[in-house]
Symmetry: C2
Subunit: 264 residues, 2 copies
């Protein structure tokens, strides 16, 4: 068994149907639980996104803007509870595959300041990993010292815990294959990028944010901006398409898989 | 609005059917959510017990004994998840009544040592109360520095957070009316105790633990042993029958209600 954990992100657009409010992708959740079980990768921490559970409610109640109106308080509760519901579903599927999944809601142990993680206590998380449990965290509606409350993305959590727990690697399971050097829909000669160094990525990022590729990558550059903080400290990151069966299992096992590997 | 929170315990035998594994008492949960909503008591923290969700699983996997066998790890996960499921049900019922309930699993921010709370971070809990949310905690399967894991009772949590957050009072909602000076089933002249000082209670406790009253009170003396820690520091505690409609509402409003009030 490795001593350093792998941090696996399961994107919101993989575990839910993004177009339809509060609709889990049951099939994908079950398949991913089976892949995690087969991979037998320990220690492991899973963080999933909100997809159609987090974003629509957070948007209706303007949670990301912070507190300004008493009516938001119930909305904040409802946003958190929707995430807990999705988390419970994912944890149940993992338990069905005998993976000792252990739900941990970030809002219970993280407080942000202007939306950035400020106060946290990872001791229970670390102890859970020590006990061979598989903590399952999620993007969450959290309390914020400055704004009252905020939306804490799964990506920010991934980068932060990977850093604090000195993760072996990050696996970002999303719904596209990885990075291209230009928009493959606009440019037929666009090339897929299997490996990239941080320096090149930062150049590419500057180019891509000026093109329509932002949309093609489903906001991937926003995700990458978070993860860069961990990559810069030496944690390699693999972007892989979790919607394609088998990819997460292979990635967890350390086998060759189509995806983009980013290193310092 | 008061500045000090009320800590309300909802016993496991009130919110579940204790005889039948994993069976919530839907009717009681709905009614209690309505009572909490009508009382409009803020700030408020709710802690519920496990009843038929916590105890049977914890018992099968011997969670309270601590870690000795790898097979317990999955059992630990399952025990925690059962509690999260019950918690989610209670939170949903509160949200349906527009109470801004906010689930917080103790295992995410408390670690015990030999079963007693040792490391904790109540900042998110305190911040949630400040934001007028109603945190809903529960007895939980938690990580333990000495034993690997342990069962943390809702009663220990109640006493600890009441102390740390300087609660105004504790309301213990259980399934009996309160304390008697002897076993009412054995002794027809047994008297109900509406008020008792801590010193008298400790004497009574010594007497009662030598009689069959322990059974009549559904293990109430164990609960009281936990709560005494808070009462000793000046937090008054009211034991009230939460299975009788209206009692929790009246108790939260500070109205006269049949029950046993314990003070320092």
């Amino acid at each position: 068994m490795r001593s350093k954990p792998i941090v696996l992100k399961l994107g919101g657009s993989v575990v839910t149907y993004k177009e339809k409010v509060l609709s889990p992708n049951y099939e994908a959740i079950k398949r991913l639980a089976e892949e995690v079980a087969r991979a037998e990768a320990q220690p492991l921490i899973i963080v999933h996104g909100g997809g159609s559970f987090g974003h629509p409610l957070a948007s209706v109640y303007r949670i990301a803007e912070g507190f300004s109106d008493n009516r938001q308080i119930l909305g904040f509760s409802k946003t958190h509870e929707a995430m807990v519901f999705l988390n419970n579903l994912i944890v149940k599927n993992l338990l069905d595959q005998d993976v000792p999944a252990f739900s941990m809601a970030p809002s219970s142990f993280i407080i942000t300041s202007k939306g950035r993680i400020q106060t946290y206590n990872y001791k229970p998380l670390i102890k859970a990993v020590d006990m061979h449990l598989v903590p399952v965290l999620h993007g969450d509606a959290v309390l914020d010292f400055d704004k009252g409350f905020a939306v804490l993305s799964g990506d920010q959590i991934v980068a932060h815990i990977a850093l604090k727990l000195k993760a072996e690697k990050i696996i970002m399971g999303i719904d596209v294959d990885g990075l291209y050097d230009s928009d493959p829909k606009l440019n037929p000669s666009a090339h897929f990028i299997p490996n990239i160094k941080l320096e090149q990525l930062e150049k590419l990022k500057n180019t891509l944010t000026r093109t329509s590729l932002i949309d093609v990558t489903h906001g991937m550059m926003g995700k990458i901006s978070e993860i860069i903080l961990a990559i810069r400290c030496g944690i390699p990151t693999l972007i892989v398409n979790a919607s394609k069966p088998g990819n997460i299992e292979m990635a967890l096992k350390g086998e060759e898989v189509v995806g983009t590997k980013i290193e310092r």
